[in-house]
Amino acid sequence: MKETPLSNCERRFLLRAIEEKKRLDGRQTYDYRNIRISFGTDYGCCIVELGKTRVLGQVSCELVSPKLNRATEGILFFNLELSQMAAPAFEPGRQSDLLVKLNRLLERCLRNSKCIDTESLCVVAGEKVWQIRVDLHLLNHDGNIIDAASIAAIVALCHFRRPDVSVQGEEVTLYTPEERDPVPLSIHHMPICISFAFFQQGTYLLVDPNEREERVMDGLLVIAMNKHREICTIQSSGGIMLLKDQVLRCSKIAGVKVAEITELIQKALENDQKVRKEGGKFGFAESIANQRITAFKMEKASVDTSNIEEKAEEIIAEAEPPPEVVSKPVLWTPGTAQIGDGIENSWGGLEDSEKEEEEGGIDEAVILDDTKMDTGGVSDTGNQALGLMILISFGYFLKGAPIVLSDSEEEEMIILEPDKTPKKIRAQTTSAKEKAPSRSQVKRRRKKRTAN
């Protein structure tokens, strides 16, 4: 489905509002939307909501052999998916420009900033290292995907625990969570992306643009920063020229926002850990707000299954017993056999050349008769029924057609036709029937000849 284009008057309206320092959702210029972080029951699973933009993050790990040039380093892999759920314009399985840009930016923000200690992910140098895979799914697109994705990625990585391993000689032992507590990743710092949208060639600036604002903006500046105010990556796109002062001002704002967000993340992580330690309820089920009328919960329900056995027995007793098998397989040649007295496939008739038919027809007359007796009875009645059916159907068909025949004519036809059509059809199909066996007989004979 294509994206609905933005109308000119909507565009003008949005720009006018921005000029008047007003935003449609009531925010101030430097306001960030509300962030909500919830965790799943698995380690390394979280949903981050930035206003209405929603990203699901999941971290997983696997033991692999390391890259040749980096034998002692673990591998980090990021994959952001723009699901069609997020917006109808996103097509599944297509690498759009936007997707490539976002993935590249995420990698720069999280991998190249060395926020994760990849050397601690090495198990046996040159042989086995952990590959950490971060899957991010955009669930709802309401602008500023990159900020939400970067928060989701770092939160999921902080939340993740990998299974413990021990190395004794050459043997690598993996421990299940029951045997040994899984271990967290070692994370040096938490880089977070902050987006700034520019309008009217950089005259106006907004923090955390939503989807509508993104569609009318001229340029975008993304700054990735950690709480120590160290810039990890910076990217300006959209082709606008920015002054040094503008960039500096943005980095100052980013510093404030990153500090706030980091604090929030830490609080959320601590909270989740506390609940897990105390054995309380956790997971997404707990994050659904009870007071919403769109949400509903049901405690576990026991199902009365006392009478299912009787019910099952009743049904089985009532059913017809399996019919006795009557058809006997027909062996054509060693390795080829046939079963069934239904219709022949349409191949037999098409493939045969006249010659083969003649040969087979004369030489193998006796065998032919036998096979015909086997299969002939049933198929004949079938054909007769076919002929009759055609007639009956034809009668109905004519009634609906514009040409109206009188009743007498129809009767006449029904009396008249069975002699003509069925004969014709029967003649055709029986000849096909004769052909099929004759061909294989010929084959068999030929084989014998060559064997001799």
């Binding site: 058809s327 079963i339 069934g340 239904g342 496939n345 055609i390 034809f394 068909f397 007498s408």
Partner: protein
Amino acid sequence: MRPHVPPVPADTLLAVVKSWRTVEPLEYYRRFLKENCRPDGRELGEFRTTTVNIGSISTADGSALVKQGNTTVICGIKAEFAAPPLDAPDRGYVVPNVDLPPLCSSRFRTGPPGEEAQVTSQFIADVLENSQIIKKEDLCISPGKLAWVLYCDLICLDYDGNILDACTFALLAALKNVQLPEVTINEETALAEVNLKKKSYLNVRANPVATSFAVFDDTLLIVDPTGEEEHLSTGTLTIVMDEEGKLCCLHKPGGSGLTGAKLQDCMSRAVSRHKEVSRLLDEVIQSVTHK
């Protein structure tokens, strides 16, 4: 007085019926089904002629060609060596794959396997897994070092409905045809030595047979649907059963609803189909081994 209309000649009649079938295929079918028969002359519970040929491909380790009416599936099994999986060192692999090339029907395009081919492959993999036809342990040559991989390639040559039954049958027939050479591991060189003179059949532990049904107008069940019938039906159902009457698969991919009683009827039909097919298969295999 009505005007006299001459009787319609048979050719015209057939032509009209033919065009009716093209314009209103569903109505055409309903007329037949009302009379408990089908346009190709079969009764509702009747299978098409099933032909099987085993050992059709000489280069494969095991092969079979199955024809069910016009639907034709060929299965070739190739055995290769591989290291067993890390988490199960005493097992081999069975890798089924179903290919629906453009050759078999105009519905299919060239390129990567389409949805139908993927779903059929998954079904065959499920049947293999559920019925335990081949114990993976039987394919192990030396634990942790060497095992057999059976690549089971199923190719449809002509698609006229009921591909699942034909594929399951072809796979079973081909597996029964597989002969693997004896392999010993030379202890000095740690290399595998293949003795091509001493071949043995695979231990086929179960005989799953699939029986497919199509549901017409939410009520009527017909057996072994053709391509046209599948297209017009409101749902399909496939039952895979082994020789003890145990179900390995009850595959009903959506469509019209069925009651438990209807299902039970289908199962009785599946039981008798299993008898038919296993008799056919036994006969074929005997005819080859006796020679």
